[in-house]
Symmetry: C2
Subunit: 359 residues, 2 copies
């Protein structure tokens, strides 16, 4: 459609003298714009309006329960840890730390990724050991790093003691036992599936070529042309495959990554989860949605700035040394992937008032 508008304007330009000369400049820019948009549409898609799926039916009550549970700290073994501890609205759904801090202040070996748009990814976590956001939320309950409960039953007892019964009843009507760890996970998933962050790039993909700057357009052109988009593509601009980190050289030579005591050495990526030699150094490709808002970068937060992260990626994955102009353009493009924080996430819910663990 935008092509035919361009064609019509092009025709008009032939008829209108001086105005035509002016219009000719526009036509050229628009012609380029149209071609770039066409290429972009072959690689990327706008974000959908929600990430709900048939496997996990949702309702407003279920989403609202999930919203509350997301911010609930009292189910954790130190009483202070919630999903929001590592996925904090103040830091665009991440925690702005190189590596996260778990329950009881434990150091974690990896960087927390933003919760935004994650239901659309191939899996959760850098090693892909959690497929859905629901699986992630369920297993977090008994993870010694996350909530630290000894069993799902322990978590369920806390939820009942915290007066969540009536909210689970509403969210899971006609269930014999509404308060279960599985329902905790389904409710949190229902909430997380609403946390999508369309931004200027989506408006661009939908045809508004003025939604992004000329720098960003040059960056987009390079992002596709240099090969970044071979892994970072789709609606989430990445997050759809596992790839080896460090094609041209060992990743830690470029990132300065240190050994992790919890991983008994270098982080070997998916290998820690599968034990398969072919998974050595394989990591989930991160989505790049909101990447400008979520430093530091890589699985261990070893690179502080987006400029440096872009340089490192070009060098390690594509064998390319970027110049300053490249970096400026690519970063300008990446900034168009910043969306607004969903209001249901920025606005923190009041949680059930409950007698709690008094002694």
């Amino acid at each position: 459609m935008s092509f035919s508008i361009t064609a019509r304007r092009s025709l008009a330009a032939l008829f209108f003298g001086a105005a035509g000369l002016l219009a000719y400049g526009l036509v050229t820019a628009e012609g380029t714009d149209a071609a770039l948009l066409e290429r972009a549409r072959g690689v990327f898609r706008p974000l959908p309006s929600t990430a709900h799926v048939d496997d996990y039916p949702h309702s407003p009550d279920r989403v609202e329960l999930g919203r509350k549970l997301f911010f609930e700290t009292r189910v954790s073994s130190d009483g202070r840890t919630s999903c929001a501890s590592c996925h904090n609205p103040s830091y665009y759904g991440a925690d702005s730390l190189p590596r996260s801090v778990g329950v009881h202040g434990q150091p974690m070996p990896r960087n927390a990724q933003t919760v935004f748009n994650t239901p659309l990814l191939i899996s959760q976590h850098y090693g892909g050991n959690r497929v859905s956001v629901e699986e992630q939320a369920l297993k977090a309950l008994t993870s010694t790093f996350a909530y630290g409960n000894k069993s799902y039953e322990e978590a369920e007892e806390k939820l009942r003691a915290l007066n969540y019964g009536p909210l689970f009843d509403k969210a899971f009507p006609n269930e014999k036992e509404p308060v279960t760890a599985e329902h905790w996970a389904v409710a949190i998933g229902a909430f997380e599936r609403t946390l999508l962050t369309p931004g200027p790039f989506d408006r661009y993909l939908k045809g508004d070529t003025r939604a992004i700057s000329d720098d960003a357009k040059r960056g987009l052109d390079k992002f596709i042309g240099y090969g970044c988009a071979s892994c970072h593509n789709g609606s989430t601009v990445g997050g759809q495959s596992f790839q080896k980190f460090g094609i041209t050289e060992d990743y830690w030579k470029a990132t300065g990554s240190v050994e992790m005591p919890q991983l008994k050495g270098r982080d070997k990526g998916r290998f820690h989860d599968t034990g398969k030699p072919e998974d050595m150094w394989m990591f989930k490709v991160p989505q790049l949605r909101n990447v400008a808002m979520t430093p530091p970068y890589f699985h261990d937060g070893s690179v502080a700035t987006l400029d440096d992260a872009v340089r490192v990626m070009a060098r390690l994955q594509l064998g390319r040394q970027l110049d300053d102009r490249d970096v400026k353009d690519l970063v300008a493009f990446l900034q168009t992937l910043t969306g607004d924080i969903p209001p249901q996430f920025a606005n923190v819910p009041v949680l059930p008032v409950a007698p709690f663990r008094a002694n």
Copy 2:
């Protein structure tokens, strides 16, 4: 004024036959209402609209900076602790734990009180070792329990690295060095001084006698008559004096309080701060604003429910055994002290994007 309206209605009642009989009932209720309101006004005041004071000039930029700093975790020594860790919007400005969890997951010996309305109190903390909210915010930076910085300089360096410079410049114009620990404290104080929570009881005190229920009115009557209001008075319904906890018997016999390793035994209140024998067992009287929303109760969160807390207080401080009706009425009154969460607090700010501690 409400007295003269009553008088006029009373006069009208004499003239209007059957309507007069009906009106007479109203007159009686209104007469009682007017008398109770008059007594209440002798003890309590509505909350002011802000708690700003001349000593700490404020501006919108200063309040907004304080709001950001309140939620900022990266200034703490574990990168995960902010004012909001213990003063969480989800729990009405407290943390809903018996005793708080400090930086690096350290157990704290005392219960966190709500941040709402606290600038209006005689001091901060149960022992009163922080007079203003500004002093509290300043000293928290180097407290080993709170932010755990080794010095104010360390905190200031972090603030600069986190890109707070321009925000301090705006909030503290014409200052040679805007980014200082003192300005951190003044900004956070400026924000906290906006966190007041008027509720139904304020509307009542301003003359709307239908703003609170009949149960609540009976509770108010008892609250004054039984002597609760001798300590819990003023606009904050407490928080204006230090008193001995446990007049009629040792407090731990009623509360079940256990010894605290950090305090080397029983919590002796203000004595831990002053070392004076006369301060033994003296605690700041808590405000009762939002008390229904902030269990568990007392300095160590040793009592789980508001019903039990009311019984314990009557027994320990006033030597009175309450019956179930008393408790119901008193709790109904206390519930009228619940205000709405200020929107600038529930709505969490986005914090500066900054390269942070990458290695």
